[in-house]
């Protein structure tokens, strides 16, 4: 599986600021990263999305210079980073633990790195004030660092990195320790901040919704490899494979065999229509269907892609209704998301047909 064709499919890629060239990283006999190769554009909000332990933090630490790649090359803004230590890179990091210096107050934490820039007293004070305002901590300058809430610590960590005006800001799951409401609030703020400052953000998360909300582009990481890179829409609508399809959002997968340029054979369920790209006849594949692209009709329903079954579960969520539909001949029930319309919620056991337009189906090779 290669990342490059998918990347090329994305619409506009800004001029690259970071070039990550064939980077690998091993810890003893653990291969944390394998052949990572992509670029990140200037001013992009770029996310690394993947399950815990897939290598996201390791990649971020290599960008920061805290960790050295085993092989490969990293170029930031035209400069090869080989031999450039962390303290001389144009990057700054927001650590997952926030790493707030406990012996310093808020202002001293934010000014910690500025001291190294030797800006002079006034400029330093001005920048600290600006940073405090940016993260909405005005008035907290003298606050002791251990008298801060989780959200405030997060803001201090962010301000401390941003005040350095890095070319690239690295964020390692900065919101994962916050509660849901605060997290959603911070997501909006981060996005707005990134737009106004124009700084390139590399954002690590294991939360797909967060990645979709924030990112210009997302790289899906799994077991030290990049599965696909693209805009949220690319990844959601045109996943390059089964793993990506299942990772982002919810997906129904039906085992099928390719039977023509626009048709697949679903075994006991009969022939179904779907656009097939680049898979010869007879190839075993998966027909991927998003729950929200499926419709439920009572009774038989119209001709076309249609599977008959019975409602096994209905969950009323206000704006939408989640159904599970048992289809005879299919091991797992189909998930269907229906918008809440005036029609009543279908009763359990009702005979229904699940239908969808041809182009809603995506045929993925195994």
């Amino acid at each position: 599986m290669t990342a490059r064709p998918a990347e090329a499919a994305s619409t506009t890629t800004p001029a690259p600021l970071l070039r990550i060239e064939r980077i690998t990283k091993s810890f003893g006999n653990v291969d944390a990263l394998r052949d990572i190769d992509f670029t990140i554009g200037r001013g992009e909000f770029f996310s690394l999305l993947g399950a815990s332990g897939c290598g996201k933090t390791t990649l971020l630490r290599i960008l920061a210079g805290i960790e050295q790649p085993t092989t490969g090359r990293l170029v930031i803004d035209g400069q090869d980073m080989a031999g450039v230590p962390a303290n001389r890179r144009p990057t700054n990091m927001v650590f997952q633990s926030y790493a707030i210096f406990p012996h310093l107050n808020v202002e001293e934490n934010i000014g910690y790195g500025l001291k190294n820039l030797k800006l002079g007293k006034e400029e330093t004070a001005r920048r600290i004030e600006e940073a405090l305002a940016l993260v909405k901590l005005d008035g907290f300058a003298k606050r002791n660092s251990h008298a801060l809430s989780g959200g405030q610590r997060q803001r201090v960590a962010l301000a401390r990195a941003l005040v350095m005006r890095p070319k690239v800001l690295l964020l390692d799951e900065p919101l994962s320790a916050l509660d849901k409401k605060l997290r959603e609030e911070m997501q909006l703020e981060l996005r707005a901040m990134q737009r106004t400052l124009g700084i390139t953000f590399v954002f690590v998360t294991h939360d797909q919704e967060e990645a979709m909300t924030l990112s210009d582009r997302i790289a899906i990481v799994s077991a030290g490899r990049i599965l696909q890179i693209g805009s949220p829409q690319d990844l959601y609508e045109r996943p390059a494979g089964r793993e990506v399809a299942e990772f982002l959002g919810s997906m129904n997968l039906l085992p099928v065999t390719v039977s023509g340029p626009a048709s697949v054979d679903a075994g006991p369920l009969g022939p179904l229509s779907a656009p097939v790209k680049g898979l010869p006849d007879g190839t075993p594949a998966q027909l991927a269907l998003r729950p929200e692209r499926l419709s439920l009709v009572e009774g038989e329903g119209p001709a076309g892609n249609r599977l008959s079954g019975a409602v096994a579960e209905a969950v009323y969520l206000g704006d939408r209704i989640h159904y599970l539909v048992d289809i005879p001949g299919l091991a797992r029930p189909l998930r269907v998301v229906a918008p809440n319309s005036v029609a009543p919620v279908l009763a359990l056991g009702s005979p229904v047909a699940v239908t969808w337009p041809d182009e809603a189906g995506l045929v993925l090779g195994d």
């Binding site: 920061a64 210079g65 805290i66 230590p85 962390a86 303290n87 001389r88 990057t91 700054n92 990091m93 650590f95 997952q96 633990s97 790493a99 210096f101 406990p102 012996h103 310093l104 910690y112 790195g113 190294n116 820039l117 660092s145 251990h146 401390r160 990195a161 350095m164």
Partner: protein, 266 residues
């Protein structure tokens, strides 16, 4: 509750056994007699007052304080990089290296003293003096200082140092601006501990000293003279009080450092 009663008796006997002899020291030091015997003759502080007129005692005290001060600083300075290496880096042979540095804890001091004596006289050919005592004391203090510093440094997040690097500090700047202030409680308790150990140490000082004495060695040499016994008792009591205070202080500082969730607290 016979079990509780039995346990209480045991605890009281235990404490009496340990502290009884020690408490005889202050008791006889205020007894108005030249002999440490019962019955007590009456209360006096003259043994304490006499102390200040005895030059040899004051000289020995001065020697001990100077050695203890120097040793505590040197041992702490030497132990600090080792403690950083042990807590921050993974390297081959770390466990054996650490065990080796901790060895003086379990080697009997008489063995240590003889070994050091042989090394100093035979291999190095250095004449015995207070300097050789100090060198021996550094060896004895190192493992104590090291374990105090290691327990301190283990307590804080390694990403703090990474953050400092990330914000533009070279390794030495990171040490002075971050590691040192955070480790300060550990450093202070390491200094106190080193001071007490060196100040109290007898065997190595006895073997390695030249013509000048440290206080413990001087006190021992005075035991032959009955007249100076009360003075010895008075001095012993003072040392007892001072050491107890220092040990308690060192422990309080160490405890607060370890349990506090804010490593910057002292």
């Amino acid at each position: 509750m016979t079990g509780g009663w039995g346990f209480k008796t045991y605890a009281i006997l235990f404490i009496a056994f340990i502290y009884g002899p020690v408490l005889m020291l202050p008791l006889f030091s205020v007894n108005d007699s030249n002999f440490a015997t019962f019955p007590l003759a009456g209360f006096t502080l003259r043994h304490y007052a006499d102390l200040w007129t005895q030059r040899p005692i004051l000289e020995a005290l001065g020697n001990s304080v100077r050695i203890a001060a120097g040793v505590s600083v040197l041992a702490t300075v030497v132990a600090m990089p080792a403690a950083i290496a042990v807590t921050r880096f993974r390297f081959a042979g770390k466990a054996p290296a650490l065990a080796f540095m901790m060895l003086p804890l379990v080697v009997p001091s008489i063995v240590m003293a003889v070994a050091l004596l042989v090394i100093v006289l035979r291999f190095l050919g250095i004449p015995l003096s207070l300097w050789t005592v100090a060198a021996g004391h550094v060896v004895v203090c190192l493992p104590f200082c090291l374990s105090v510093l290691v327990s301190r440094l283990e307590g804080f997040d390694a990403s703090l140092e990474e953050a400092s690097r990330d914000l533009g500090c070279a390794p030495m700047q990171t040490f002075w601006r971050l590691t040192f202030p955070l480790a300060l409680p550990g450093i202070i308790s390491s200094l106190l501990l080193g001071f007490i150990i060196s100040f109290d140490e007898f065997v190595i000082a006895f073997f390695l000293t030249g013509t000048e004495n440290t206080l413990p060695v001087y006190l021992y040499s005075q035991l032959r003279f009955p007249n100076s016994l009360p003075g010895t008792l008075a001095l012993g009591s003072l040392i007892l009080i001072a050491s107890t205070l220092l040990v308690v202080l060192a422990e309080v500082i160490r405890r607060r450092g370890v349990t506090s969730d804010n490593p910057g607290d002292i």
